[in-house]
C-alpha cells in the first residue's frame, strides 16, 4: 500500500512521515474518499496520536504530504505548511479536551467565534446543535459536570459546527464505561453518517473499528501492516497482533432465553437475561475442532467444512463454511494430527461460556 497512492480530488490523501527522537518513525499512507470512514486500528504506542496531530496541523511532517479536497496542507519538500487554524480539520480528541473554563454552549460556539461569526449568530447555531443532540438543557453547565457520554456529544458538536472538510475522532469511546460505550457507538455511527466528508476513527478497540469503519488500516510500530474491509481483517488477519485483537468472530443475532438466533444457526449463551439484537463475539481459540462428533460439555456443536487454511507463525487459522462461517485457531501440530486439509469435514464445538454477548 505504501507509495503510488491515488490522488483523489476530494477527500484526504496523505503520506505521513514523522520521526521522533527515540528511534520511532511513523510512515503511513492514507487515502479517505468523501463519505467514507476509515478506522486506524492499532495498539498503544503504534503512532496513532501522531497521525492525528500531523493531519490536524499540530505536528509538522518530516517527509510526505497531506492533501485535503485537493488543497495541499503540508509538504516539507516544498516548504508548504498550513497552520492548524486554517486547515478545516475537525478533531474529537481523546478524553474530549473540552475547555473547562467555558460552559457547554461556549465550547460549542468557540469554533464559530474564532472565525469571526457574530456572537449572537454563533450562540444561536450552537444552541440549535445542542438541541439537536439533546443537550439543550445543559448549555449553561461546565464540562466537568457532564457525564462521559454527554461530554462526547458536546465534543462532536464542537468539532462539526465549523463544517470541517475532514473529521478525526481519536479514541472517541475509550473514556466511557462499558455500558455507555455500546449506546454511544450507535449514536456516534449516526453522527458519522450525517457528516458528508471523509472521516477517520482512531482506536485500539477492534469492535469499534469493525462497527464504525468502511475500511480498516491496521497500524503497528509506526507502519500500516494491513488494509482492508472489516471482513478482510477479521477473516484474513495478516499479523499475530491483528489475529489476536481483530480476529474475533462477530455474530449478529437476536437473543432470548439463553439463545442467540442468526439466520442460519442458534447459539447457546451463558447469559439468560439478555434479549433483543445482540453482538456475539467468539475468539478463534475458543472454537474446538474435531474430526468426529464430540460428546463433551459444549452446548454448541455442528458439522461443517474447512474452506480455507492459513498459516502464520506458530498458529493456523481455519475458516469454516455453512451454516455459520467462523474462524478457528489451532496449532500446526493439531492440524497434522487431525489430518485437516481444505475441504475436510469437521465438527465444531463452542462452550456457551466462551461466547461474549453485548447489546447491539
Amino acid at each position: 500500500m505504501v507509495g503510488g497512492a491515488v490522488i483523489h480530488s476530494t477527500g484526504l490523501d496523505a503520506r505521513l512521515v514523522v520521526s521522533r527522537g527515540d528511534e520511532f518513525t511513523l510512515d503511513v499512507s492514507l487515502s479517505i474518499p468523501e463519505g467514507h470512514t476509515v478506522a486506524l486500528l492499532g495498539p498503544n504506542g503504534a503512532g496513532k496520536s501522531t497521525v492525528v496531530a500531523a493531519i490536524a496541523g499540530l505536528l509538522p511532517l518530516d517527509e510526505g504530504h497531506i492533501t485535503l479536497d485537493g488543497r495541499v496542507l503540508d509538504v516539507p519538500a516544498t516548504d508548504v505548511l498550513v497552520p492548524a487554524e486554517d486547515r478545516s480539520v475537525g478533531v474529537v480528541f481523546q478524553d474530549y479536551v473540552l475547555f473547562p473554563h467555558m460552559t457547554v454552549v461556549e465550547n460549542v460556539e468557540f469554533g464559530l467565534r474564532s472565525r469571526k461569526t457574530p456572537r449572537r449568530s454563533a450562540h444561536e447555531q450552537a444552541m440549535s446543535w445542542l438541541d439537536r443532540i439533546g443537550l439543550g438543557d445543559l448549555a449553561g453547565r461546565k464540562p466537568n459536570d457532564l457525564s462521559g457520554g454527554q461530554a462526547q456529544r458536546v465534543a462532536v458538536a464542537r468539532a462539526l459546527i465549523t463544517e470541517p472538510n475532514l473529521l478525526l475522532l481519536d479514541e472517541p469511546l475509550a473514556a466511557l464505561d462499558a455500558t455507555t460505550r455500546v449506546d454511544l457507538r450507535r449514536t456516534l455511527a449516526d453522527h458519522l453518517d450525517q457528516f458528508g466528508g471523509p472521516r477517520m476513527v482512531i482506536t485500539h478497540d477492534p469492535t469499534e473499528a469493525f462497527l464504525l469503519a468502511d475500511e480498516i488500516h491496521v497500524i503497528e510500530d509506526g507502519v500500516i501492516t494491513q488494509v482492508g474491509t472489516p471482513d478482510d481483517i477479521r477473516l484474513r488477519p495478516r499479523t499475530p497482533y491483528i489475529a489476536d485483537l481483530a480476529g474475533s468472530n462477530l455474530v449478529l443475532g437476536m437473543a432470548s432465553a439463553g439463545l442467540v438466533t442468526t439466520d442460519t444457526q442458534q447459539l447457546h449463551i451463558a447469559d439468560t437475561q439478555i434479549s433483543g439484537p445482540v453482538l456475539a463475539a467468539i475468539h478463534p481459540r475458543a472454537i474446538i475442532i474435531d474430526r468426529h462428533q464430540p460428546d463433551g460439555s459444549p452446548r454448541n456443536t455442528w458439522e461443517t467444512a474447512v474452506i480455507r487454511i492459513e498459516h502464520y507463525g506458530d498458529r493456523v487459522r481455519l475458516q469454516t463454511g455453512d451454516p455459520l462461517p467462523l474462524t478457528g485457531e489451532i496449532t500446526p501440530d493439531a492440524l497434522n494430527d487431525l489430518q485437516i486439509v481444505e475441504g475436510s469435514v469437521v465438527w465444531i464445538s463452542i462452550k456457551a461460556t466462551e461466547i461474549s454477548v453485548e447489546k447491539d
Binding site: A53, A56, G57, L58, P83, A84, E85, D86, R87, S88, V89, G90, V91, F93, V97, F99, P100, H101, F110, G111, S114, R115, R158, A159, T162
Partner: protein, 270 residues
C-alpha cells in the same frame, strides 16, 4: 488516667505535645510583632496621623509604584514566562537562573546594580539621558524600576509553572477549531492558568509594595517623589514613632485585605 483509650480518643489521636508547643511558638513569631504594633498604636491621634502629608505622600508613591511595577511585570513577565515554558533554546537554564536571581540577591545590591546601569552616569543611563533627557534615579520611574526588578520574578515563575501544568492539547484543540495564536492565548491559555496568574500578580504586587533596599539605593528617599511607605516607616522610626505606627498599620491592613480577597485563588495555585 486509664490505659484504655476511649473511642473518641482513637478517632482524634492527640498530636505529640512537643510538636504542639513548637507550632504555637512558630505562630507567635508572626503574632507577637503584630500585637506590639497594636499595643503602641496611638488610637486617638490616628486620624490626624493618617492624613498627614508624610503619610499621604508615601501612600500615593507606594500605590503608583507597586501598581506600575505589577503592570510592567505582567506585560513583560507573561511573555518571558511563555518563552521559558514553551520555547526550547540553548541556555534556557541560564535564563531561568537570571530571572530568579533577584529573589535571592540582597535588594541593596540590586539597587546598586540598577544605579550602575541606569544611573545618570550608568552604562545605559548616560546615553539614554543624552538622547531623551530621561533620569531614572530619584524619580518615580526609579521607584517603579526598582520594584519591578525585585518583584517580577514572582510573576515569571508562577506563570511559567501554570503554563507547564497546562495540557497543551487544550491549545491544540482551540487551533483546530480555527483560533489563531492570539485568540488561543486570550481565550484558552490565560483563562486556564487564571489562578497561577492571579497568584503571581498578587505576589508581585505584595513584593513591590514592601520593597525597600533597592528603592532607597537606586531611587533615594525624597518625600513626595520617591519615598514609599516602607521608606517613610524607616525615617519615622527615628523622628516620629506615632507616624511610624500609623504607616505600619496601613501596610498591615492592605496586606491582610489582599490575603483575604485572594485567599482561594492563592492557595489553589501555590
Amino acid at each position: 488516667m486509664t490505659k484504655r483509650a476511649t473511642s473518641s480518643d482513637r478517632r482524634t489521636r492527640r498530636p505529640p505535645v512537643v510538636l504542639v508547643i513548637l507550632a504555637v511558638l512558630g505562630l507567635s513569631v508572626f503574632v507577637i510583632p503584630l500585637l506590639g504594633l497594636l499595643a503602641r498604636t496611638p488610637w486617638s491621634d490616628l486620624p490626624t496621623l493618617l492624613t498627614s502629608d508624610v503619610v499621604l505622600d508615601a501612600l500615593r508613591v507606594s500605590v503608583i509604584a507597586s501598581l506600575g511595577a505589577t503592570a510592567i511585570s505582567a506585560i513583560l513577565g507573561i511573555p518571558l514566562a511563555w518563552v521559558l515554558a514553551r520555547v526550547e533554546f540553548p541556555g534556557r537554564a541560564i535564563v531561568r537562573g537570571l530571572v530568579v536571581l533577584p529573589l535571592v540577591l540582597p535588594p541593596v545590591v540590586g539597587g546598586a546594580a540598577l544605579l550602575f546601569a541606569l544611573g545618570r552616569r550608568g552604562l545605559i543611563g548616560e546615553p539614554l539621558n543624552e538622547m531623551t533627557g530621561l533620569v531614572f534615579p530619584f524619580s518615580i520611574w526609579g521607584v517603579v524600576i526598582a520594584a519591578t526588578f525585585v518583584a517580577m520574578p514572582f510573576l515569571v515563575i508562577t506563570v511559567e509553572g501554570g503554563l507547564r501544568n497546562l495540557d497543551p492539547r487544550y491549545e491544540g484543540a482551540a487551533a483546530t477549531l480555527g483560533a489563531g495564536r492570539w485568540t488561543v492565548l486570550w481565550r484558552v491559555t490565560l483563562p486556564m492558568i487564571g489562578s497561577s496568574l492571579a497568584a503571581g500578580l498578587a505576589l508581585t504586587w505584595a513584593r513591590a509594595l514592601g520593597e525597600f533596599g533597592a528603592t532607597i539605593t537606586f531611587a533615594g528617599n525624597l518625600q513626595g517623589r520617591t519615598q514609599t511607605l516602607p521608606l517613610a516607616v524607616f525615617v519615622a522610626m527615628e523622628s516620629d514613632r506615632g507616624a511610624a505606627v500609623a504607616l505600619s498599620l496601613i501596610m498591615v491592613v492592605i496586606s491582610l485585605t489582599v490575603l483575604i480577597v485572594l485567599r482561594h485563588r492563592w492557595w489553589g495555585a501555590l
